[in-house]
Symmetry: C2
């Protein structure tokens, strides 16, 4: 039988398709056979690449969290002015949310389905990412306390992550402009 040349690695192919399926049906709503079928192999072949279904989810969510944190740290290193940093963070996060809506969806929907150690790891990475935002907000004088800044940061994430609910019908660049403007205004309006 002719072997189909695999352009991207099988692992990444599986991760991509699994993300799409998890986003649409939820972790427990997708079967191993379903994921296999989506990449053209069948069922148990996945166990050549991942130790378990939960392990697959873990790699997906850890990857997302690491990517976000790395991007945040990069921006933090580039900008000393907190307002500039906030703008860079907004641009970075908005871009990610618009480019990878499935990952965004899975990240905050299926975190509870992770095994304990992986969940702790993801939560730690997420917390570090949030703290970058919190620090910028406080230093910019846009939040009266760390607590308030945390609420504001989560609110900003919710705003930018609304992408999966509305992007279906709208151009990505148009949405990017709207979300960026709204997020910036929301954060700057927050009273001290």
């Amino acid at each position: 039988m002719p072997r189909v040349p695999v352009t991207t690695s099988r692992r990444e192919q599986i991760l991509t398709e699994a993300a799409r399926l998890f986003a649409r049906h939820g972790f427990h709503g997708v079967s191993i056979d379903g994921i296999g079928a989506a990449v053209g192999v069948s069922g148990p072949a996945l166990y050549r690449h991942f130790p378990s279904k939960e392990g697959l989810l873990a790699e997906m969510l850890v990857g997302i969290s690491e990517h976000l944190l790395a991007g945040g740290q990069e921006r933090a290193a580039e900008h000393t002015d907190p307002v500039d940093l906030l703008d860079a963070l907004i641009a970075f996060h908005t871009d990610f949310a618009l480019r990878q809506p499935e990952l965004i969806t899975v990240q905050d929907r299926d975190l509870a389905n992770l095994p304990d150690d992986a969940r702790r790891r993801v939560r730690g990475l997420q917390r570090a990412y949030v703290e970058i935002w919190v620090g910028a907000l406080v230093r910019a004088g846009l939040a009266g306390s760390d607590e308030a800044a945390r609420v504001a940061a989560h609110a900003a994430f919710g705003l930018m992550n609304s992408t999966p609910r509305s992007t279906t019908h709208t151009g990505a660049d148009v949405a990017a402009g709207i979300l960026t403007t709204m997020t910036r205004a929301a954060l700057h309006a927050h009273p001290v």
Copy 2:
């Protein structure tokens, strides 16, 4: 055996506990036996009150959508000025999101697990609710097109619905103020 006096109706008790469990573990992550155990009965007793597990979810989501739409229509009837209407809508939605975080979570996470007809019904109700916001935004001159207004409305929902992610550590009234202010600013900042 002594019969335990049931204060609220069994149906509502089941709906409440099921919402909590669905919010935490997802629809497919909760078993019929688990829901039963949460209300003190076991497993199949639920079928005395609901036709199926999907039927239970359907009643939950339809109830939420109807409540939101009714509240939106009520505000729309009370306010002729679109900016006043927006403020009333923000107050209404924020209050709901803060008071019922589990329902908010289930609503936009498990819609995909509804049977087709119920899903269509919920989507229709949601769309009608969104259209109230869209109409107010356009009439207020805060959106250049219906499309832009829809993106803005979904973004506002994402902001206000961020509650379940951050309220755990913050007082509800404090969070309400922050979310209200941020949402108002976000919507008013959106350029024409």
